[in-house]
Amino acid sequence: MIISVASGKGGTGKTTIAVNLALSLRNVQLLDCDVEEPNAHIFLKPEIKETFSAFIPIPEVDSEKCNTCGKCREVCAYHAIAVIPSNGETKGSVLVFPHLCHGCGACSLLCPQKAIKEVHKEIGIVEIGTAKGIQFVHGKLNVGEVMSPPLIRQVEDRIDPTKTVIIDAPPGTSCPVIAAVKKSDYCILVTEPTPFGLNDLVLAVEVLRKIRIPFGVVINRSDIGDDKVDKYCQGNKIPILLRIPFDKGIALLYSRGIPLVQEKVEYKDKFRKLFDCINKLSVLKAK
């Protein structure tokens, strides 16, 4: 079973839910796919045993073979290539803008001169380790890189299907989120009962419905704000899986990098119930 933890809005408590759920279950693997700002390791303090570089393929043009025909520019869906034709005096050239390249390979495949080969460009690293009995994997995007989905996919290549897999997704509703949640059997959407929380929850729900992943909601800081998130969930038949109150003790533990279930043991039960609830909902869905 693969469970992803996502949210439209940032800072709602995705990592808190992912880490504490992982610590409350047995035979777990946790993947931190928020590769632009991974932070699950702060709470789990894993011992890293293996580190790999993550690459994307980018085009390299052989200027001897290239006749600046412009086909590569034409087929690049991401507008990452410019072709400067020869002006008689100077030889033409091809300019590649690697930050816009998604590594799709169209230019090298379709170059009539076979002048383009793909070279590996490092965009980040994948680290694997163990922490408190949990198998831990996360990705770290290099500073200045913008293309996180390929790194997220390389983190998810490490999924161990014999374990309960928990994925800490990045915030938002764009490509990185979809890359992170796509393989999951169930998605937990973490929100807070505020206008911002609701607005971004609605967006996240639209995404999950579109990609057909079953989901439920965890309301964090549940006793602040108003009841509009509750009403929205009721109206749209979205299960509310857990409520965590606004509690200074929880905030204090968080600020010290201490997982909630380690100090407030009663929460272990709550997270196990959350997991049981997801299991039941999944079984119902399968029927």
């Binding site: 991401y78 507008h79 990452a80 290539i81 410019a82 400067i84 002006n87 300019l95 803008f97 816009l100």
Partner: protein, 123 residues
């Protein structure tokens, strides 16, 4: 010699568009004959790469100089690689820009005048 002015409209009385990659129209003006043609910029809605492809368009038209408000880093690289002179900080009408250029009012910009995504809508 052919020059290009970024423009809000399609006439010589239109205002100079302060963005290069995401300008509304390009005016291609021939300084020898005084003839011009206007072309809508279809790159302006791109999520990314608008400057690169606008630079590409200008280069493929055989333009020798660009008059505009601002140029970002990618467009600057394309234009300068192709040997196109870039004049930023240009404002007023297209006609005024052309006159200013003819009288040597502008200095070539040897560096981009703004960062990436400067011309994105709602920014």
């Amino acid at each position: 010699m052919k020059i290009c002015i970024t423009s809000e409209g399609k006439t010589l009385d239109s205002k100079v568009d302060p963005r290069f990659g995401r300008c509304q129209n390009f005016i291609f003006f021939d300084t020898d004959t005084g003839n011009f043609e206007a072309e809508a910029n279809t790159n302006s809605q791109f999520q990314g790469g608008a400057g690169i492809q606008s630079g590409q368009l200008v280069v493929s038209k055989g333009v020798k100089a660009v008059l505009t408000g601002n140029v970002g880093p990618n467009a600057h690289q394309v234009l300068s690689t192709a040997g196109v002179s870039i004049f930023t900080g240009v404002s007023g009408t297209v006609k005024e820009a052309i006159d200013g250029y003819k009288h040597g009012k502008y200095k070539p910009a040897d560096a981009p005048s703004v960062g990436s995504k400067f011309g994105m809508p709602n920014k």
